[in-house]
Structure formats: structure tokens, C-alpha cells
């Protein structure tokens, strides 16, 4: 049998209902020690609610949940002492400088002031904010604030890092820095749980992930395996017009029409493209590997999600 690391978060039949609305509807998952585990899903899928239950902020309605072997309802302080949380909203303390934000936060974890001072400087360097050490937080750019929040989540050297949309609204440089740091943390043996809308981020970072919609988990697994299994290997895209659509129908291959493009899923894009060019003569043709985005849209549909 394969040597699977122990689970650090386990949920079974987990439910959360807010004043009549079901936000999380009987989900089951387990996060293993040392992996980066992702929660994907459209707005209102229940990702943030799930994070809030894991971080002992929101009590569950029913089902079971254990974090580091403990029940969040019975041992919230013990669990939270070993978690690092990066919330979706920026909630740095505007009354303090960057460095003081970290030391003040460290105090809530009962970390002695001398240790906290040193740790804060290390962490500022880790997220490359050492130049902003004494700057007030309202002088920071959006990307700097997210990096400072990441540093803050690490003051207690957490065993599990929980991030809710860690790179939302960041420029590519800042996103890459955060990704690098998360990979580095994983390399040091930490467990990372994150939610994201960015499918490239999930594909790049996550060892395993779930896709959620309407409070339910639709699928769980390693991103590449999931794409291969549920979408296919490669995709050929051609511009849609009636002639080409008719032509493709005669080829007897599976295809789908999205707006003004036709997608053909195939095991061999080159071969399919060659036949297509020969027989249907499309003006534009594109071959590419199937991605998580294809899987995501296949599972959650293409309609726009309102609210949340």
C-alpha cells in the first residue's frame, strides 16, 4: 500500500445553514499533511464558509469536522494557535506600522516580545517588505498589504496555513511572489489550504483540489488527473460558422459549441487538426492542452453567478 501522509483536516457530511440558506451541503474531504489543497468554485459555492468552519470562526450546523485531530467547537483556541489564516478581506491594523502589526499579532499568540521582534523582521524579509518595516499600513499598495497579511499569518509558525483568495486583485509579480512563498512553505513540510477563483493558480500550486458548487463538492483529485479523466488530453478550437459545424458533424468526433468557437476534445490534437484543416478548411484553428478551466466550466456551467 502507498504511504499516504496523515490527514490534518477531515470533514464528513459537513453542513452549514445560515438563516434558511444552505451554504455548505454535506461535504466530505480530507487534507493530508504537507500538501497544498485547493477549494475551487464559483461565487457562493461555499468555499469561504468552509474556510470559516475550519478556522473555528463559524460553527458548523451538522456533520463532523476535525482539525489537527480536534473538534473546532471544543478546542478553538488550541486549534487556532496552530493555524495561520489569510482572510479574503484586508484586515491589517491601521493603527500600527508593518513591523508592529506583526508583533501585535504575535502577542495574541502569547509569543514573548523578544521572540516576536525577531520573528517579525524575518517574516518581513520573507515577503520582501523589509524596506517598509516602519511604514504605516495605509501607505502600502494592495500587493504589499496581501504580502504583509501572509507574513502575519506566519507569526505563530503554523502547521496549517489557510488562505482565502490569497492573490485576488494582485499584479503578476506579486502573485508570483506569493506562489513562490507558498511552495517554499510546502517544501518545509507545512500544509496549505487555499480557495481561489484563478484556475491557473490552482493548477500551478495545488497537489489536490476540490471543485465546489452550490455547497457541494463536485470532484476531488490532483488537477492534472482530473483534467485528463473528465475532459481529455487536448483541445482543438475552431471558429464557428454553419459550414464548419456541418463539416465537423460528418467527422463523427465529440465537439461542443461555446459562443463563436467549436471545441473538439481529442487525444491527439495534431492529428485532429490536420484532418480538420484538410476536410473543413477553417480560417482559424488553435490546438492546446485541456486545462482546469475546461473542467471547471464543464462542471459548473457557463452562466454568470450573481451575488456573493
Amino acid at each position: 500500500m502507498e504511504n499516504v501522509p496523515p490527514a490534518v483536516i477531515e470533514a464528513d457530511n459537513l453542513h452549514k445553514t445560515y438563516s434558511g440558506t444552505v451554504a455548505v451541503d454535506g461535504i466530505r474531504f480530507s487534507v493530508r499533511k504537507g500538501e497544498i489543497y485547493g477549494f475551487l468554485g464559483p461565487n457562493g459555492a461555499g468555499k469561504t464558509t468552509t474556510m470559516k468552519m475550519i478556522t473555528c470562526i463559524s460553527p458548523r450546523s451538522s456533520g463532523s469536522l476535525t482539525v489537527l485531530g480536534m473538534d473546532p467547537e471544543e478546542h478553538p483556541a488550541e486549534i487556532k494557535a496552530r493555524l495561520g489564516v489569510v482572510p479574503q478581506e484586508t484586515n491589517l491594523d491601521p493603527d500600527f506600522s508593518c513591523h508592529a502589526n506583526l508583533t501585535t499579532y504575535a502577542r495574541y499568540f502569547d509569543i514573548p516580545p523578544e521572540t516576536a521582534e525577531k520573528k517579525a523582521d524575518e517574516l518581513l524579509e520573507f515577503v520582501q517588505l523589509q524596506d517598509k518595516r516602519d511604514a504605516p499600513v495605509d501607505k502600502l499598495s494592495g500587493g504589499m498589504k496581501r504580502r504583509l497579511i501572509l507574513a502575519r499569518a506566519l507569526v505563530n509558525a503554523p502547521e496549517i496555513l489557510i488562505l482565502d483568495e490569497p492573490t485576488i486583485g494582485l499584479d503578476p509579480q506579486a502573485r508570483h511572489l506569493i506562489w513562490d512563498r507558498l511552495k517554499l512553505l510546502r517544501a518545509q513540510g507545512n500544509t496549505v489550504v487555499l480557495t481561489t477563483h484563478y484556475l491557473d493558480e490552482a493548477a500551478r500550486l495545488c497537489d489536490r483540489l476540490v471543485i465546489m458548487d452550490n455547497g457541494k463538492i463536485l470532484i476531488e483529485g490532483a488537477p492534472a488527473d482530473l483534467v485528463l479523466e473528465h475532459v481529455g488530453k487536448e483541445i482543438v478550437e475552431v471558429e464557428k460558422n454553419d459550414e464548419i459545424a456541418a463539416c465537423i458533424r460528418t467527422m463523427n468526433v465529440p465537439f461542443e459549441i461555446f459562443g463563436d468557437t467549436i471545441q473538439i476534445i481529442t487525444q491527439n490534437a495534431h492529428e485532429t487538426a490536420r484532418i480538420l484543416l484538410d476536410q473543413c478548411r477553417p480560417k482559424k484553428l488553435l490546438t492546446r492542452p485541456a486545462t482546469l478551466e475546461d473542467l471547471f466550466l464543464k462542471l459548473t456551467g457557463r452562466s454568470l453567478r450573481e451575488g456573493a
Binding site: Y18, I57, A77, P87, P94, D110
Partner: protein, 261 residues
């Protein structure tokens, strides 16, 4: 409703929240320590010496000596009440500080308890700064007036709790103006502060004694600063202890209901 009458689990971590507020306060201490000085001067000169010149004395006590304890009591009320309404609301709603804190081992109960303690601490600081000014004007007697400091803590907890109850149920920061103007302002005027309650209609006297906690704080303060103790201080202290306990516990539960969903 049941969740509002349970005993909240508060731990010593509440002091960490208190400490955070203290650090911020001390960093701008010059700005923060100035108002109590000025306020004592202004009240004493305008009302005490100004109006006092015409009033002369109330029940043989010089008018300015009679309102000195009221100035202390009103300061206790204002510093705790406004700290735990507008300031706490800003930290909760705009700065999201409570959200950040409860992601650490702190619970929401700890956070609110820390805020309440801090509100009462503001009251104690205010009174402690005002006392030397009043003593310099020779309108309070020492050493009994030093009892105003522990009284400020009790009164501070009471008004901090009251304020926090409003903060827990207010939809936005603007609606906090209602308790400020409809409750705090009349209470400031009709709690036996600037004139004795006895000259008011019986109904208003009942309202003041039952619904205006400032009445009891002012009465107790006055007994300390004159000094003129009477057994009725027992009533006032008991009233304040009960109200302080009830509103502090209720405000924690209300806040939990608001923030933990």
C-alpha cells in the same frame, strides 16, 4: 433569545485586546491626556464660577463644589460610552480588527471583554487626570476624593457595557447617534448633576433613579468628594454593580450573535 442569557466564556486573553488599545492610546498620549485637563477647566470656570456666582450654594454646599463630582461622573460616562460605541464600531466594522483577532487563539468573548475593560480604563484615566485639577481649584476634599478612581472603574464598566449593547445592535455608525442624543444627553442633564433631582416632578425623579445610571454614579461621587457619606451609597453601588454585570454580559452575547454566524 436563549443565547443572550448564557454566561460567556472569557479568558485572560481579553487582556491582550486591552493591551493593544493601551499601546495605541499611549502612542498619542499628548493628544489623549489633554482633553480631561481642558474639560475640567472649562466646566469649572463656565458653570461653577459663572453660574455659581448667581446660584451661590445648594443646601449650604458651594455650587462649584456640588458640581465638581458631577463633572467627574459625566466624564466617566462619556469616556466609556463613546469608546465602546463609536470607537469600538470603527474597530469592528471599518477596520475589521475583531475579525483579525478571532483568527488567533482569542475568542469573540475575549475581544469584547477586552474592549469593555478598555472602556472602563479610559474612564479611570480621565478621572485620574481631572482630580488634580479639581483639587487645585480646591473644590474637592482629599483623601476621600481618591475613591473616585475605583468608582470610575465601576461606572466605566457600566457605561462601557451599555455602549457595547448599542454597538452590537446598531445597523450602522450613524444610528449610534440615537442613543447618544436621546439617552446620553438627557441623562447628562437630569441625573442630579447640575441641580438636585428633588426639584423635578416626581415622575422624572423615578425615571432618573431607575433608567439613568448616571444618577447613582453622581450621587456616589458626590459623597466621596464633599465628603458626605450616607447609607444610600449602598443602593447606588448595588445598582451600578448589577447594571454593570448585566449589560457587560449581555453585550458580549449580543456581539457574539452579531459576529459569529
Amino acid at each position: 433569545m436563549k443565547e443572550l442569557i448564557v454566561l460567556p466564556r472569557v479568558t485572560r486573553r481579553a487582556l491582550m485586546v486591552w493591551h493593544r488599545n493601551l499601546v495605541v492610546f499611549l502612542r498619542t498620549w499628548k493628544v489623549n491626556f489633554f482633553p480631561p485637563f481642558i474639560e475640567a477647566f472649562l466646566y469649572l470656570s463656565a458653570i461653577g464660577l459663572g453660574i455659581g456666582t448667581y446660584v451661590g450654594s445648594i443646601d449650604t454646599i458651594p455650587y462649584v463644589n456640588s458640581i465638581a463630582p458631577a463633572i467627574l461622573a459625566i466624564s466617566v460616562m462619556n469616556s466609556a460610552f463613546f469608546e465602546c460605541t463609536y470607537s469600538s464600531f470603527v474597530r469592528m466594522y471599518y477596520q475589521k480588527s475583531f475579525d483579525a483577532m478571532i483568527a488567533t487563539p482569542l475568542s469573540i468573548e475575549d475581544v469584547i471583554a477586552g474592549e469593555l475593560l478598555w472602556g472602563a480604563t479610559r474612564s479611570v484615566m480621565y478621572v485620574t487626570i481631572m482630580l488634580p485639577v479639581l483639587a487645585a481649584f480646591n473644590v474637592i476634599s482629599l483623601p476621600f476624593s481618591l475613591l473616585a478612581i475605583p468608582l470610575a472603574f465601576l461606572g466605566g464598566m457600566m457605561f462601557a457595557g451599555l455602549g457595547m449593547c448599542f454597538t452590537a445592535i446598531t445597523p450602522g455608525i450613524d444610528t449610534l447617534n440615537y442613543p447618544a442624543f436621546l439617552y446620553i444627553t438627557p441623562m447628562t442633564l437630569f441625573s442630579g448633576t447640575f441641580f438636585p433631582l428633588g426639584i423635578l416632578p416626581q415622575v422624572i425623579q423615578y425615571v432618573a433613579v431607575i433608567l439613568f445610571p448616571l444618577t447613582h454614579l453622581t450621587a456616589a461621587m458626590r459623597m466621596c468628594t464633599l465628603p458626605a457619606f450616607s447609607w444610600t451609597v449602598g443602593y447606588s453601588l448595588a445598582y451600578m454593580a448589577v447594571i454593570a454585570t448585566v449589560v457587560c454580559l449581555l453585550s458580549i452575547n449580543l456581539m457574539k450573535r452579531r459576529l459569529i454566524i
